[in-house]
Subunit: 720 residues, 2 copies
Amino acid sequence: GAGADNDLYINQAIVFIEDAIQYRSINHRVDSSSLWLYRWYYSRTCQWILSLTITVILALAFIEEPSSLTVTSDVRYRLPAWNPPCGLTESIELLCFLVFVVDVSVKSYLIGWKEFWKNKWLMAYILTLIVYLTDWIVSLSFFCKESVRIRRILRPFFLLQNSSMMKKTLKSINSTLPEMASVLLLLAVHLSLFTMFAMLLFARTKDNQQDKEWVVYFRNLPDSLTSLLVLLTTANNPDVMIPAYSKNRAYSIFFILFTVLGNLFLMNLLTAIIYNQFRGYLLKSVQSSLFRRRLGIRAAFEVLSSLKETPASAQQSCVSTGALLQVLQKAEMDSRCKQAIMRSLKMCSCDQLSAAQFQKLFEELDKDAIKQHPPSPEYPSHYLQKMQLAFGHPYFGYLGNVVALANIISICVVLVMDADKQPSERDDFFLGAINCFFILYYLLEMLLKILAMGLKRYLSYSSNRFDGLLTIILLILEIATFAVYGFPHPGWRPEFMGLLSLWDMVRLVNMLIVFRFLRIIPNMKFMALVVTTLLDLVKNLRAFAGILVVVFYAFAITGIMLFKGAVVPLGNTRYSNFLQGAQKNSRAEFTGSCAPFSIKKVVVLYFKGKNTISWCSTHFQAEVIYCVLYVLSIHLICRWAKIYFVAWWLISSVIWVNLFVALLLENFIHKWDRHCQRESLSDIEYQRTVELMFRDVLEEPTEEELMEKLHQHPHLQLCR
Amino acid sequence: GAGADNDLYINQAIVFIEDAIQYRSINHRVDSSSLWLYRWYYSRTCQWILSLTITVILALAFIEEPSSLTVTSDVRYRLPAWNPPCGLTESIELLCFLVFVVDVSVKSYLIGWKEFWKNKWLMAYILTLIVYLTDWIVSLSFFCKESVRIRRILRPFFLLQNSSMMKKTLKSINSTLPEMASVLLLLAVHLSLFTMFAMLLFARTKDNQQDKEWVVYFRNLPDSLTSLLVLLTTANNPDVMIPAYSKNRAYSIFFILFTVLGNLFLMNLLTAIIYNQFRGYLLKSVQSSLFRRRLGIRAAFEVLSSLKETPASAQQSCVSTGALLQVLQKAEMDSRCKQAIMRSLKMCSCDQLSAAQFQKLFEELDKDAIKQHPPSPEYPSHYLQKMQLAFGHPYFGYLGNVVALANIISICVVLVMDADKQPSERDDFFLGAINCFFILYYLLEMLLKILAMGLKRYLSYSSNRFDGLLTIILLILEIATFAVYGFPHPGWRPEFMGLLSLWDMVRLVNMLIVFRFLRIIPNMKFMALVVTTLLDLVKNLRAFAGILVVVFYAFAITGIMLFKGAVVPLGNTRYSNFLQGAQKNSRAEFTGSCAPFSIKKVVVLYFKGKNTISWCSTHFQAEVIYCVLYVLSIHLICRWAKIYFVAWWLISSVIWVNLFVALLLENFIHKWDRHCQRESLSDIEYQRTVELMFRDVLEEPTEEELMEKLHQHPHLQLCR
């Protein structure tokens, strides 16, 4: 009947508006039961369960067989890691697998059969699940003793396919690949030509004393290529040229030319190209997000205008305010936006809304969220008012900063004085007394500020929340210290009692005080700008970070598979042989006496299959690159390891860092421009996303484009 | 009389137009004799003498007392460098000094007394000359035995003040300093807070086995600061965290946080800021160049319009074409521009030129120089025409590339096969025969191309010039080889004869063949784009390179003064003590057995005063940074060296590299945009400068601005 139809239309409108808010595609089924399923699937609970499943399946690697969640990384000291019995991780995997099967079925059903065949991501998802199940069955039939587990490499795919932002970013990266490949090709040509030059230049001579360069770095083609590749990463920079340079200064020209062309020009050109290409694609993807939003709102308008209550005689299609109010009440959206839209709907006295008016109402969604702080309390007493004026003044905050600085300086002085003292000679009295005084001041400051601003206003500033939280933690720590060790007095150096020693307590307090000093940041204008840029960047970087996690995970698992058993703990003959080779070929580290020890450690750290996963997952790429270069400079590694590490260097150092620089440049330049435009508005905090950053340059889609797209909708039949 | 006046006006116009062409300021004296002096001063001969003087005075450092222009850099092997007798370099200096005195007097006279006091560069010039003379007198009175020669540090100033582009660039860099200082301050805060954290975290414990981290890296405040500063440059990257990491994996969080915040965020933020700031200033300086050009042309128009022959009754001021022709003939300018202006002057039939027409005539100066290749010869014979078609076709060039590639591959195969052979086992027959064949092909290719294109057209392409030159050199080398060693035959391995051994000759030929392979570049589209970008960059980079030379020179001289006598050759007790300290404190290099040897070499290389100048001047900064970091990681260096090297790192690595990246980004993005706009025009080569790059965004100065500026001219009294 008409009532059921109307209900369906209302439900459709609700879902379309929710799609618009979340920048989702509207190309899904729109019958009643599908809409229910769609809203259920995108409900918070369901999405939360899905995220949890992905986290669990990724985290499994930390407890699975070659894991190393031990405190120390040193094989000589550490206890064997806990090995879960066969079947435990497998049953968790099965549970996750079932969730993914439900996920993929619901997704496939919702977009419909025709769309399914066009969606490569969904097909890949199903394929991945099939391979996963097969490998799981194989694993169980071998009682978990199988040598290769390919399903582990597949796991990051689940993370990738669940985030539309990550898919979009991946698409952007994919589009810049041709240009990157051109520069990489150029780099390869550069490298190979210079390798040939080097081999001709540093050829073997009759005098064995004279060809040190040849012996160490340019013995054959793979050696020369490696030497120059490592020079490209500047890891072996002065070393590689020193034998030749010491023979004749002119040889340095070769190395200088190579470095200038390769490092200064080609590498930076890569940055320029990635910046140039990526900038365009980021804008494009934001533009398509905007289109999705406008389309969702337009679709909601169209279905609402087909409601039976609308006067059919009207020339233009329009929507009654009542219907819209009904939709708004049921739709899930940010309460601030909802209220703003309701308010403007009430202010607009008209009964019927045209398409343009409808679209305009929802522009609230695109606006920056402006955060307003609650007002200060109004005290009746004249005395209290004066106190409020004094302690609410910025100067009181500056005084607090000065006191914090004084505290830092006093800690620093004590540290410098105590630097070389034996722990038994140390006297904690001075620092204890001073910190006690400072923490009391911090407490007083916090209380006075709360008095002046009122608790609500105080807590509405993030700097105050940071400040207050740290002050309370410091207070608790100080009280605990006094409760266990008594009040400070000269020679205050009691023995170990309770959970932490006094010295550890004092150190912890000092660290927190140093950390608390960061409260000065918002007071320094340029610093505040930089820090907000960085925070924005972190927000916009989530998709990048996700892709990085995917890459890390895949590399870590590959590393485990490649280097499994390459290094075994001390005492084993194979390892000793390995170590002797290492000593012969690689450079010694640290002081001469512990050289074999440190090489061993490095090898143990980098080559042991059991360790690679936690190493790679806890060590950020900047760290890893240099380890890799370090490892590359040790000549003993096998060819596979070389290829693995070169790939890792290219992806994590060259490409990822350049993408990061591009994003940072983009963010900073936009931010800086806006900052220069409105320096005066200081009390307003904007919450900005990548969509909002580009708003000035985005193009609004035209009505024709929207309607054309709507008519192409696979499931929605519009009346007109 | 009127004739003399007219001559003066014509001369003024000539000088103003020359000023406009060279982007010079027109604020100089304009009376007859001053104009003569001005043209003399800016004549090629005078400017060439000035440049030569600057080169000579800068090059003096290479032969002055602590110089090291020896073949080897190793103090153990090298002969003592030639020491010029006292008075030789001093008399050369006096000559240069006299040239500079003439230079500064002429410059000061020409801009006039009033302007002189406003010009800080001129004042600094005079001051520098006074200090220079004083130091020179001191030096002579000590018979060249004085310990400190401050005048050496002053020398690069002469280079700086002579180039207006360098002064402009320096001004731009200067303007970005506040923002850079902010980020550097942020870096300093970051560093000091983390240092305090580190000192609290890695404090001395009672167990001596447990505090390796404290012993090696965080013993006291300077040590900790150095460790983290070096970590910021990623030179000690995995090493610094390994003792702590091996104790507890969680310690790595500290180092990861430090690296991510410092290296990934703050350092790249510096790039973003420099790019953002510098972009604006570069544009601004180009804008002011444009203004100078327009002003010069306008000034020429104004003086020409005051000529007596002009009808005084005309309402608008205007210039007769005759006067302009007279001026053009006498003015020194690019002949292409001159002809183009003459041509348009003749095409314009009018007798009198208005200001706008006058300005428009000179727009030719702003245009890209379009290089046109001369036509191919037209042969009468049908057979020759067919040959011309065949060998002038691009496919013939591609065939040449394929042959060159084949040659490269054959060399590469021989190199791989011969890599491990003893020199006595080597047989040069195969390579000799193959190269002989290939070189004949190259010769044939060159001759056929010349036949098809004609010599003029052939030489008008730079790729052909490159190709032909290398082919001729190869041919000469090959003929010389055959003349000395006879034709190749199996077992072709004669003993050393003549200037070079056969093996060296073959190697040289191979290197040239590898070098010749670069001719493929223009055939690959993207490579060609990249290479032209790089070449453009090199053109625009001259000012940067000049400033870099200034910085290098100053650092090298300071280094000589600071580290003079810090290292003395082997056998001396002081040096042995030094070496023992080095061995104890620093990490050994290369293989274990030659560790003390290599440390010695490093120390000898970097710390010896006699060597610093040539080291710094011949080694590009990318090289030096890593040496510096390397040296920093050796803990024995004194405090002065530390400060010196940190300053060097900041200036040459952080600031200069970022400036370079900014310039490259700017260049590439502009180039890329233009490249995308007109991909079809492939035969036209543009010669582009930094001025032309920005032309689309430059604003033309208005008539009012120009006239206001003209009326402020200190020496020129306009009639109206």
